[in-house]
């Protein structure tokens, strides 16, 4: 007896008891529908969260420093050995002390000349950029500037923002205006907080206005008798050292193109960090190249530029860990939030398992329905089973017929159940989004039905039905043919 023969016989038997088959299949469909709906919800919510988190640019970013996080001394840039794996956990705490954001050239300036050190300079950037799966490598540039607008003046930091940071982190929502159109425009963005300090009017009116940005540069004096440079912040006592240097105040103007709603903490991962003033990265780099921010920077102007931190972007969040490990092998300290994402994914896995278990309750009930149907079917067909045995049907043949009948119920129930679950999830999604939008939220797909879930749910349905059919099939196979033939 071939498999196809068994299959045809099983389907023919199911067709003989249409109503009972339909009812049993419906029971399985409800169970599988509930299960697929639940898991679909878990997967949908996870997709929503993960896509928003990865969209924030936080999870494909790696923060690289050349400092050791194990202590304050080490934090001053005396790095001689490659970072140990265990450092990562200490990174966030150590970072604040290690590389204060207001001293962009700490590493270069502070490291003693006699100690071999790994500088975070343009050479290091090139080395890291050459690693596989690295999308971009950019130093974190924060330049101290004075911003002026009409009567308003304030010392603050301007952060260099690459174009690739559009739609990331704090740049996902704008109070007014938009992101830079290109790298070269004299454009800038303000945080909403600063904008409110700049003007007493509606901050939105600032979009399109010119803002003055001032900073200091140093240049060789043209003559020993030259007048003192205007507007320097250098303390008077140091004036003697500066006999050959002249400090100049540079003023540039930028057009305010956007007001960013959220001002996040400085040094937030990824390119989406928001400062008071944001200028195109190229512009910040140009200012950084000529700017003097301290006496030390004046004295060491001829040394290669070093950065306190650089931000590396992996080509995808899945490569973050790999890239991070490679950077560590090069000898730098690196830290990413990838682990946090992995943790979130693990949590969602647990949620999916929990939802599956809840959904499985309905399936357990429907599997009892299958057992009941099959046992009833055996009772009804006892004589037929006896006949089949009398004309040569073996125990295995009879078992096969019943197992295939059970599997067929599972298959039909699975397909119907997944369809039912999809319809129900669409309805719930529609209702939920209608409510979310009415509350001012943004709509999203709360349910996700990937192919693996469709295949998995149908396979699971067949498997559960097959298991439910085991007992009845065994019972049918073990029937005594003589007794069965006497059955009415």
């Amino acid at each position: 007896m071939t498999f196809m023969d068994t299959l045809k016989l099983a389907f023919s038997n199911l067709g003989q008891a249409k109503l009972r088959t339909i009812l049993t299949v419906s029971g399985v469909a409800v169970g599988i529908g509930a299960l697929s709906c639940m898991v679909s919800f878990g997967v949908g919510v996870e997709d929503q969260l993960v896509s928003r988190l990865t969209g924030s640019g936080m999870f494909d970013s790696i923060m690289v420093t050349n400092v050791q996080f194990s202590g304050r001394g080490a934090a001053r840039g005396r790095r001689t050995a490659p970072a140990r794996g265990g450092e990562r956990g200490a990174a966030p705490a150590g970072r604040g002390a290690a590389a204060p954001a207001d001293t962009p050239d700490t590493a270069g300036a502070d490291s003693p000349a006699e100690t071999p050190r790994l500088r975070l300079d343009d050479e290091a950037i090139a080395k890291i950029a050459a690693l596989p799966n690295v999308k971009s490598v950019l130093p974190d540039l924060r330049v101290p500037v004075q911003v002026s607008y009409k009567g308003f003046q304030e010392m603050t930091f301007a952060i260099g923002v690459p174009l690739s940071s559009a739609h990331e982190g704090g740049f996902q929502t704008f109070a007014a205006g938009s992101f830079f159109a290109n790298e070269t425009d004299d454009a800038c963005m303000l945080s909403l907080d600063l904008a409110k300090r700049v003007t007493t009017e509606d901050p939105k009116t600032l979009v399109g206005q010119k803002l003055t940005i001032s900073y200091a540069t140093a240049s060789a004096k043209s003559g020993a008798t030259a007048a003192p440079p205007p507007a320097t912040d250098v303390p008077e006592g140091l004036a003697g050292i500066l006999t050959t240097q002249q400090i100049n105040r540079i003023e540039t103007h930028c057009t305010i193109v956007g007001i960013v709603e959220r001002e996040t903490a400085p040094g937030l991962f990824g390119g989406g960090s928001v400062s008071s003033v944001m200028i195109p990265f190229a512009k910040a780099k140009a200012i950084d190249a000529v700017q003097v921010t301290s006496l030390q920077s004046v004295l060491r102007q001829n040394e290669p530029r070093g950065y306190s931190t650089i931000t590396v972007k992996a080509s995808s969040p899945s490569h973050t860990q790999d890239v991070e490990d490679q950077i560590k092998k090069l000898g730098y300290s690196a830290f990413s939030l990838n682990d946090a994402l992995q943790g979130a994914k693990r949590a969602f896995l647990l949620l999916d398992i929990f939802l599956s278990l809840v959904g499985s309750i309905a399936l357990v009930v429907s599997s009892l329905g299958i057992i009941n149907t099959m046992v009833m079917s055996i009772l009804e067909r006892t004589r037929e089973i006896g006949i089949m045995k009398a004309i040569g049907g073996s125990d295995r043949n009879i078992r096969g017929i019943f197992l295939i009948e059970a599997s067929a119920i599972g298959l039909l129930g699975g397909v119907m159940g997944v369809s039912l679950g999809w319809v129900v999830s669409r309805i719930i999604n529609f209702a939920a989004n209608w409510w979310i939008e009415s509350q001012g939220g943004s709509a999203g797909n709360l349910f996700s039905l990937p192919f693996w879930l469709i295949g998995g749910a149908i396979s699971f349905s067949v498997l559960v039905s097959l298991l439910a059919g085991l007992y009845p099939a065994r019972r049918a196979a073990r029937l005594d043919p003589i007794q069965a033939l006497r059955h009415d």
């Binding site: 023969d5 037929e384 009398a390 004309i391 040569g392 125990d395």
Partner: protein, 229 residues
């Protein structure tokens, strides 16, 4: 001529509550290949039990039971199903056709278990049905057929896998006399023209004496008389 059936000290005991029913109590007999034997006896004499053991539908309690040289008492359930499939054809008093299947499907079902290909099953079943006088009735379900026609379908099914031994358990018990004569004529034809070995259980001694070559009479699980025609 070699023996088709060799039975020696065959016993079949059933437990019924506290007592033991000796359905067969030490039977010995031989049936030659191509022989037509009638098994006679009153109800409860053990003739149907013997037929069931020959068919491989049940296991003997004791003794040996050789059919075409193979001892059924030593066979597993799977081996017994092979025996039923290929070596014997069983004809029941109550026809025992699958009510949801047509005549052709009922005959083909036996071939399905024997692994005959689908196309061949259909053509062979149709031919056998024609041979037993049911040409053109193949697509009728049992309830659409008369008793005699149903028994013809059952005989066709018993012949499906071309067994050398036919076991008939009161094949005319549910039929009127005219139809009975037709069915018995068909069995006789299978014996005389096709050389089938037939063991037929009946309680009609006169009919058995007329048709069979030998009658074996049983009582209380034992053979009490053997008469050659």
């Amino acid at each position: 001529m070699p023996a088709a059936i060799e039975i020696s000290q065959l016993k079949k005991h059933y437990r019924m509550g506290a007592s033991i029913v000796r359905a067969l109590d030490g039977i010995s007999m031989t049936v030659q290949a191509g022989e037509f034997v009638g098994l006679l006896g009153a109800s409860g004499s053990g003739k149907s039990t013997l037929l069931n053991l020959l068919a491989g539908l049940d296991h003997a309690t004791e003794g040996s039971l050789n059919v075409f040289g193979q001892d059924l008492s030593k066979m597993s359930r799977e081996q017994l199903s092979q025996h039923r499939r290929h070596k014997v054809g069983i004809i029941f008093q109550s026809f025992n056709l699958v009510s949801t299947m047509t005549a052709v499907e009922n005959v083909a079902l036996a071939m399905m278990f024997a692994g005959v290909a689908r196309g061949e099953r259909q053509s062979r079943a149709t031919k056998i049905l024609e041979a037993v006088g049911l040409g053109g009735r193949g697509h009728h379900r049992p309830r659409e057929l008369s008793g005699g026609e149903q028994q013809r379908v059952a005989i066709a099914r018993a012949l499906a896998n071309e067994p050398a031994l036919l076991l008939a358990d009161e094949p005319t018990g549910n039929l009127d006399s005219k139809t009975s004569r037709e069915i018995l004529a068909l069995l006789t034809e299978l014996h005389t023209q096709h050389g089938k070995t037939i063991v037929m259980v009946t309680h009609d001694a006169a009919m058995a004496a007329r048709l069979t070559q030998r009658t074996v009479t049983m009582l209380d699980g034992q053979i009490i008389a053997e008469t050659a025609a």
